[in-house]
C-alpha cells in the first residue's frame, strides 16, 4: 500500500472502531445509531480504498439512507428514549457471557486469519459498473430475481404484521 492509502486505512479503522464502540456501549439508542452511521461511513471509505466507488455509494445509499432511517423509525415508534431500556447497565453475568462469546469466536477466527494468510494481490482489481450490470443480467440473474422476491415478501410481511385492525381486536 502507498503511504496515503495506509493513512486512510488507519483513519477509517479508527472511525469504524470508535463508531462501533459507541453503537455497542451508548446508553441512548439514538447515540448508538449515530455510532452505527459512523461505522457505516467508515466501511464505505474502506470500499473506496478497495477501488470500488460504486459499492461505497451503494453502502451509503442503502445502509445510511434506508436501514438507518428504518432503525430510527423503530426507535421513535417504540418510544425507546434515553431514559428507557438501556439506561441501567447490564448485569455482570450477561456482560461476562458476552465477553466470553466474543473471546471464543474472535480468538478462533483471528487465529485462523493470522496463521493461514492468503497471498493476495496487493492491488485491488477494478471492476466497471458495466461488468456488474452484465453479471446481474447474465450469470447471476436468478439471484437478482430472488433478492427482489425476498424484498417484496419482506415488505408485504412487514405491512401484514404491523397492520392494525380498525374494527374488533
Amino acid at each position: 500500500m502507498e503511504l496515503m492509502a495506509k493513512i486512510a486505512f488507519g483513519v477509517y479503522t479508527l472511525i469504524i472502531l470508535c463508531g462501533g464502540i459507541l453503537a455497542v456501549a451508548a446508553k441512548s439508542l439514538v447515540r448508538a445509531m449515530v455510532g452505527l452511521i459512523a461505522t457505516l461511513l467508515g466501511v464505505a471509505g474502506m470500499y473506496m480504498l478497495l477501488n470500488s466507488p460504486f459499492m461505497a455509494f451503494m453502502q451509503i445509499l442503502i445502509y445510511v439512507g434506508a436501514v438507518c432511517v428504518l432503525i430510527f423509525f423503530a426507535v421513535m415508534l417504540t418510544r425507546a428514549d434515553a431514559g428507557g431500556e438501556e439506561a441501567e447497565s447490564a448485569p455482570l453475568r450477561q456482560n461476562t457471557l458476552a465477553l466470553l462469546a466474543v473471546t471464543v469466536v474472535g480468538g478462533v477466527l483471528s487465529w485462523l486469519v493470522l496463521t493461514h494468510p492468503v497471498a493476495g494481490t496487493g492491488v485491488p482489481v477494478e471492476v466497471s459498473i458495466e461488468k456488474l450490470g452484465l453479471g446481474l443480467l447474465g450469470p447471476y440473474g436468478l439471484a437478482f430475481e430472488l433478492i427482489s422476491v425476498v424484498l417484496l415478501v419482506a415488505m408485504a410481511g412487514a405491512v401484514l404484521l404491523a397492520w392494525e385492525r380498525r374494527n374488533g381486536k
Binding site: V43, L77, T78
Partner: protein, 102 residues
C-alpha cells in the same frame, strides 16, 4: 501483514463488536443495530476477498450487494416485529418479553 489480512481483521473487529452487543443489549432496537454491525463486517470481508485475490471480482461485489439487500429486508421485518412486540407488551425490553417462560 498483507493488506488482505488487515481488511479481514477489521471485518473481524466489526463481527466481535456486533456479537458482544447482541449478547449485552437489553432492547430489541439495540440488538438490531448490532446485527447491522455484523452484516457490515461480512460485507467488508467478502469485498476484501474479492478485490485483493485473483478470485472473481464481479461475483464478490454482487455478493456484497446481495448482503446489503438482505440486510435491508431483515431490517424491515425486524421493524415490524418490534412494533408488534411494543404494541403487545408495552416495551421492547428483552427481559419483559417472556411469555413462554414457565
Amino acid at each position: 501483514m498483507s493488506p488482505l489480512t488487515l481488511y479481514q481483521l477489521v471485518a473481524l473487529l466489526l463481527l466481535a463488536l456486533g456479537l458482544f452487543g447482541i449478547c449485552q443489549r437489553r432492547s430489541l432496537v439495540g440488538m438490531l443495530i448490532c446485527v447491522e454491525l455484523m452484516l457490515n463486517g461480512a460485507g467488508l470481508s467478502i469485498m476484501a476477498a474479492a478485490q485483493l485475490t485473483p478470485a472473481n471480482a464481479v461475483l464478490g461485489q454482487l455478493a456484497t450487494l446481495f448482503a446489503m439487500g438482505l440486510a435491508a429486508a431483515e431490517a424491515t421485518l425486524v421493524l415490524a416485529i418490534i412494533i408488534v412486540v411494543a404494541r403487545r407488551f408495552g416495551t421492547t425490553k428483552t427481559s419483559a418479553v417472556t411469555t413462554l417462560k414457565g
